[in-house]
Symmetry: D4
Subunit: 159 residues, 8 copies
Amino acid sequence: MAKFKLDDIDHQILNMLIENTRTPFTDIAKKLNISAGTVHVRVRKMEEAKIIQGSSLTLNYNSLGYNFIAYVGIFLEKTSQTQFVLNRLEDIPNITVAHVTTGKFNLFVKIRAKNTEHAKNVIFKIDDIDGVSRTETMISLEESLNDKTRLMKSIFEEM
Amino acid sequence: MAKFKLDDIDHQILNMLIENTRTPFTDIAKKLNISAGTVHVRVRKMEEAKIIQGSSLTLNYNSLGYNFIAYVGIFLEKTSQTQFVLNRLEDIPNITVAHVTTGKFNLFVKIRAKNTEHAKNVIFKIDDIDGVSRTETMISLEESLNDKTRLMKSIFEEM
Amino acid sequence: MAKFKLDDIDHQILNMLIENTRTPFTDIAKKLNISAGTVHVRVRKMEEAKIIQGSSLTLNYNSLGYNFIAYVGIFLEKTSQTQFVLNRLEDIPNITVAHVTTGKFNLFVKIRAKNTEHAKNVIFKIDDIDGVSRTETMISLEESLNDKTRLMKSIFEEM
Amino acid sequence: MAKFKLDDIDHQILNMLIENTRTPFTDIAKKLNISAGTVHVRVRKMEEAKIIQGSSLTLNYNSLGYNFIAYVGIFLEKTSQTQFVLNRLEDIPNITVAHVTTGKFNLFVKIRAKNTEHAKNVIFKIDDIDGVSRTETMISLEESLNDKTRLMKSIFEEM
Amino acid sequence: MAKFKLDDIDHQILNMLIENTRTPFTDIAKKLNISAGTVHVRVRKMEEAKIIQGSSLTLNYNSLGYNFIAYVGIFLEKTSQTQFVLNRLEDIPNITVAHVTTGKFNLFVKIRAKNTEHAKNVIFKIDDIDGVSRTETMISLEESLNDKTRLMKSIFEEM
Amino acid sequence: MAKFKLDDIDHQILNMLIENTRTPFTDIAKKLNISAGTVHVRVRKMEEAKIIQGSSLTLNYNSLGYNFIAYVGIFLEKTSQTQFVLNRLEDIPNITVAHVTTGKFNLFVKIRAKNTEHAKNVIFKIDDIDGVSRTETMISLEESLNDKTRLMKSIFEEM
Amino acid sequence: MAKFKLDDIDHQILNMLIENTRTPFTDIAKKLNISAGTVHVRVRKMEEAKIIQGSSLTLNYNSLGYNFIAYVGIFLEKTSQTQFVLNRLEDIPNITVAHVTTGKFNLFVKIRAKNTEHAKNVIFKIDDIDGVSRTETMISLEESLNDKTRLMKSIFEEM
Amino acid sequence: MAKFKLDDIDHQILNMLIENTRTPFTDIAKKLNISAGTVHVRVRKMEEAKIIQGSSLTLNYNSLGYNFIAYVGIFLEKTSQTQFVLNRLEDIPNITVAHVTTGKFNLFVKIRAKNTEHAKNVIFKIDDIDGVSRTETMISLEESLNDKTRLMKSIFEEM
């Protein structure tokens, strides 16, 4: 992806979308004194260049009663089962992130649950997948930071 | 947040927004045979009930050259330094998530970097924060899953 | 259990029972200048509200020759065996506490035994349960504190 | 405490007290067809022989909203601080048990708290004690067993 | 073994034997101005009281080319195999000490070998015993102390 | 020590001394049909060749009430303190063996004590030595083997 | 370095140099039926393209008495000391490889020594460097493979 | 190999070959004012004495795109499989070094790969070998030192 260069207009569009993904293109156009069509074209180009991929809804998990976060390290019986187990993990909606990792774990996942009891059930579901030999859980006492906007701005500033 | 109940219309609105946060309210209205005003009212209510918090841009980190992910466990010299260190971590944009954790680490963070060399620099920045005594890094060989839509749908189905 | 409120009389009754569970209600009544019937009613209400559950005998384990305490972490072959193994653990009277835990162990139990030799036999009984793959033992050199009265008082003060 | 022998009457008295510590001596006397005075004498003897130490109230921690249990391993800066730190730990009512241990920890304590947030505060209080260098926490997903009556019966059967 | 009391003569005999087990009883007798028969009687009494068990030859392992010492922790597949594996370990003369232990290992042994290559062969023999699942080896860089005479003197001083 | 060769007579002398270090040379001489002088000469040669170093008394630690064995891993603040700490360890008679080791510990020692309480005091003495930063203790549940005669015979057979 | 393409002649030259770095260019030329000048040009091009860097002597460490290999993990007091410590490590010739690493160690080095005693001295030199807080050593029982020719061939085959 | 003595001429030859293995013997001869034949004889003697073994090509792995280095610790199911697994490891050219080790791993290997993705594939190949039960990977953030010339000089200086 080496060569795509962002100009000043692109930067301003991106900053507004980072702040609020739902900002209508007409609002962006007005702020930047350009036509809405231009905004459209710019955004489409950035999508085609695979810079922007889409947008996602942000929930308030705390107010929804989902304030229990844990990271679970998974030991597999055989690495050849990696893909099979990953597919089973995808069936558990409380797993929002999954990695193949170095170090002592084969897989490493993040789960969101309502409370200790709920987390226990999610962990037991993972433990019961064929090919999983053992898991180790680390519980988050507080999610102090969950913010990609700083990274996005830093990436775009380099382009 | 115990008592908020979602009806069928709410569910359909949420599903469309989960699929694409930028779907204009007029499109949603047309699909559901209701007025755009109704969509507005419904969404505002869900925002006021702190169910929806906002929306965020999704980047294609791979095509942007940021395909190195690592988790870093941080040991502090003293727990009383927790808040101070968290503030310093916020100054490093490559840290997208930070937790206070149980287990052997005091803090646990996720970083995104371009490559091994870049990751080393980010880790060294963490190590150089006052109050940080040591770090341990686990590197992701593959981010196999990073998807909150399954969880969102599962949460809304219960409401 | 959110709403039960304790008044001053309740607090005084609880303090006397915490000090000595066997204090006769007539003694409590005399001290508080109320009728024994009132004490009865108050205590029953607190039992019905599931605040008080019962009372238990306290032994002097040291003078009984049971001064060897160990904590045993248990690794299971499969988490699906959790309930089965917990039932077997219940058959070993020297296990006084058992937890399903996060972290590296599946189960974590406290044992009281007479001495090293006796503890070895208890640990071997645990190791021989079907479904137990391995155990790790941590031995207490001194039980410096075993006192729930401070917690009880702290809980009641908040009510 | 080698030589104290329990006879059949002693065993029956102990069984009734284990079942319910508050059983009045007159009830015990009636059941066993002996005088209340005899019960008194027997119990006092067992107290003097340091077999029975006292009795304690049992709360229903779940219904009181205290269903978060964790074990915290404590590393000290110097073992000479052991007694000092134990005294500070006694000031935290949520710590119900504390041990000096072998293995990697210097001290090992059990805490009861209301929830993750509350537990974090208790752990931070421990971390802030002078002489504590680090802590590691293991969270209980379920207290499957907390029962000393089986041990008591087993001990008395041998006497 | 509580009651055996050593008098001054016993102490002097023991000190001379600790210094050199082969000291003839006639030499001891002469030094202490008692008869050789008295020395005999005293030593036999201490043997009968199970204080002294025997004597053992001390080799100079370094000059014999056996200066490689390692400690090997052994994980068993099942604790029920403990006695079987201990019997197999006894067939390996390079294992001079073996313990059943707490902590992460089931068994813990000390080996003396000629060099790295020789130690590898001994470790492989252990690994090949049925029921041994894994071993971990810690190598001694220097045996700085191997002396039981200080302990012996300390024990006898208390008697 | 490469070249010392043992002949058949040497082997028979060694076997008798291994069995009982105190066997008088006259008894050995009689059994082997050689003069006591020859036995003397042979033994002196083996001592001069640094094959035999001496002999040591064997106590029955169990009957002496010293049946608590533990291994203690010691972390130093700085390796430069190794010799200083080794000298302090020598002042504690309950430490019978001490090694400089590879792996996670700097030093690794074996202790014999009377019971848990006694062991705690010995461990605290180690912890209080200047330069010791932390210790980890592994407790022996049973000393299943403590026998150097098998190794001695195996070494002599090769010579 | 994406674009450098090797043709068949290059491959044959490389194979001969991998087999024996000291093969004279005239020998290579003769074998391949080309002029020595061509060999020179080809090799220089590969050097300029930074494919070949040079050549190194291979010693027989075993016959030189250097058959003790260990890997040493180094914990630093502060990461900011990394470069300083690396410079000190370079002064110790027995360290042949040094890495900045992820995981629990800050630095990870390979050492070659004559024997246990020699290795201990090298490790102590590392421990004594300012900024090094602790080391952990893993000893090689056998260097089963040390061969870069397979990798070289595999790399060149892809070009 | 105890007795081979290097004289001054040998040292100078070795130094020049260490600096550049490909230095022609005629150049060496000219520099040292001796005949090329003498150089030949000296080098052959050092080869026969097994001091010099050969020479190897040095690649610039960075410019070849192979800048990802990792160390992989391998746990075997049974030590008896050691040789079998070592043979399989030899089939993977990215493994340049392999050791049988003490400590927690059975085998320990070094791998060179192009990037995270490539390394993952190499690690998965290792994991898929029969007899391998699990692996743990430590990634190098920087190869700060890879130099055997300092060791070579140090070895030769002692001869």
